[in-house]
Symmetry: C2
Subunit: 277 residues, 2 copies
C-alpha cells in the first residue's frame, strides 16, 4: 500500500485507528474455544465488527507463534480475511544480519502478504535494508517503545558522531535511519506513554508516519498524541489492542469491540477535523 | 542445561563448537530436495555427522519461518533429533513488551524445548525478563554483532548514567543487563569480526559465556577469540554455519561437513589445552 492510499483511507473513514490482534486463547470468549480454529473465528468477528472504523490491523506475531504450526495457519487465514484496502502490520520486531533478514522479509511479505513489519534497530542498516526491497512494503522501525524498559537504553544520552551528546539513543536511531528509505516505506514506533517526546520525534522526522502503541491498556493519551504528532497527511496510526478486542468476553464480544472502537474513532474524527481542517 | 553440564561437554569433547543450522532449500544438495521433508533430512545427516564434535546446535529460526507452517514442523523434528546432552540455541533475536515476550518464551521453551534463545536488547529489562523465568533456560543477549550495521548504534559513545561517555552502547548493554540474571542463565552474542573488542567485553563480563558468530564465512579469527575470550570455564561457544553445513553440495555433504567440523574442533582442542591446562 502507498502512503497516499493510506491517507485516503484515513480521510474516508475519519480514523487513524489500528486494531491490534493480540488474540489469546486464554482470553477469548468461552463459547468460541471448541471451534476448529477459535483464533481465526475470533479475529473474523472482530474484523467484521471494526473494519469500517479502522485503517490498519496489527496481528502480534508472538500470539500466533506460541501456538506452533496451527498458529501460522490461523494468522494466514486472518490476513487473507482482512479487506485489501486496510493496511496490515506484522508486529514481529525482527532484525538480523542481511541474509537472515531477507528470509524474514520472505516470510512476512511473500508467504504472508503483509504491507509492513515492525523491525528492531539494534543491528543497524544492513539488518533493515532487506525489508525495503519491495515497493509499497514498509518497515516500521522501533524508535521509542511504550514499556518501562524503554528507559534502559533508548533514553541513554548518545553521541551522534559529532561529539554532540544532547540526544538520546532513540533520536539517533531516527536521524540515522531516516536516510535508509523515504517516508513512503519507513515508519517509526513511538510509544504514547511519553507524549512530550513526540515533539522531539517530529523535529527529526516531520513527515513520517508514526505507529503509536500504548493507547488504552498502557495509558497513553490520544489528545496529546494527536495535537503533538499529527502532520499534513495525518502521519499517525494509533494502536489499541486489549481495550477493543477484549471489551467483553461474552457472546457480545464483537458488538462491544465495535462500541469501544467507535468511541476512539469518534474522538479521532474530532482531531482530524481540528488539525487537518 | 546448567552451566556446569555445558562445561562438562566442552571438556569431554575438547570442543566449544556450535554448528549453525541455517538450512536453506536453495543450498542443500539436489538429491535431497524431492524428499518429503528435505530440511529435516539434511539436518539429520548433519547432526549424525557432527554430534561428537560440537557442544551446541543453533537453528536460525528465519530459515524455518520462511517456509511457513511446514518449516515449524521441520524445526520441531530437528530439535527432537538433537542428542539431549547438546546445548540448543533458538537464534530468533526476539524481544517485545513483557506479555509478548512471555509468549515467545512459551513458543521456544515450552512448545519447542530449546535450552536458549537469542534476544535483542533495545526494549530493555522487561522485554528480556520473561525469558528468564525457567531454571536452566538461557537468554543469549545481543551485545556486539558481526555485521557491518553493528557500527550504526552498538558503537555509539553513550552515557552510562554517570556522565561518563567513554563507553560504547554495547558496553552499556553488558553492564546494565548483567544484573538481570546470573551467568547461569545469561550469555552474550559478541561478534568475532572485532577481536579487539573481546577484551573490553571480558572486562565487564569475565564469567559469562559468549556466543561468537562470524568464524568462517564472516571472517573471524578463532585464535584471537580463544586467546582473548576464554575464561576458566571456557566461556566460549564459537559458531560456524555455512563453512560446515555447505562444505559440499554433493552426496558427500555430510562427510565433508564432518571434515570441516573436525578441523575446527582440532584447533579448539589445542586452545583448550593451552589456556585451560
Amino acid at each position: 500500500m502507498t502512503k497516499e492510499q493510506l491517507f485516503d483511507q484515513i480521510k474516508k473513514k475519519h480514523s487513524y485507528l489500528c486494531v491490534g490482534l493480540d488474540t489469546d486463547l486464554q482470553k477469548i470468549p468461552v463459547h468460541l474455544r471448541d471451534l476448529e480454529d477459535p483464533i481465526f473465528e475470533f479475529n473474523r468477528q472482530i474484523i467484521d465488527a471494526t473494519a469500517d472504523l479502522c485503517v490498519a490491523y496489527k496481528p502480534n506475531i508472538a500470539f500466533y507463534e506460541a501456538l506452533g504450526p496451527k498458529g501460522w495457519i490461523s494468522l494466514e487465514k486472518t490476513l487473507n480475511y482482512i479487506p485489501k484496502d486496510i493496511f496490515t502490520i506484522a508486529d514481529a520486531k525482527r532484525g538480523d544480519i542481511g541474509n537472515t533478514s531477507e528470509l524474514y522479509a520472505r516470510a512476512f511479505f511473500e508467504n504472508l502478504n503483509f504491507d509492513s513489519i515492525t523491525v528492531a534497530p539494534y543491528m543497524g542498516e544492513d539488518s533493515v535494508k532487506p525489508f525495503l526491497l519491495k515497493a509499497d512494503k514498509w518497515v516500521i522501525l522501533l524508535a521509542l517503545t511504550s514499556n518501562p524498559g524503554s528507559a534502559d537504553f533508548q533514553l541513554l544520552q548518545t553521541d551522534d558522531g559529532t561529539d554532540d551528546y544532547s540526544r538520546c539513543l532513540f533520536e539517533n536511531v531516527l536521524s540515522t535511519s531516516k536516510s535508509w528509505a523515504t517516508d513512503e516505506q519507513l515508519m517509526y514506533v513511538v510509544g504514547a506513554t511519553r507524549p512530550d517526546f513526540i515533539q522531539r520525534v517530529r523535529e527529526i522526522v516531520p513527515n513520517h508516519f508514526l505507529l503509536v502503541p500504548g493507547v488504552g491498556a498502557q495509558g497513553g493519551n490520544l489528545a496529546d498524541i494527536s495535537r503533538l504528532g499529527m502532520n499534513q497527511q495525518c502521519g499517525l496510526l494509533v494502536n489499541s489492542s486489549r481495550t477493543i478486542i477484549y471489551a467483553s468476553n461474552g457472546t457480545d464480544f464483537a458488538e462491544q469491540a465495535r462500541a469501544a472502537a467507535l468511541l476512539i474513532q469518534q474522538e479521532m474524527a474530532g482531531y482530524l477535523s481540528r488539525y487537518l481542517g
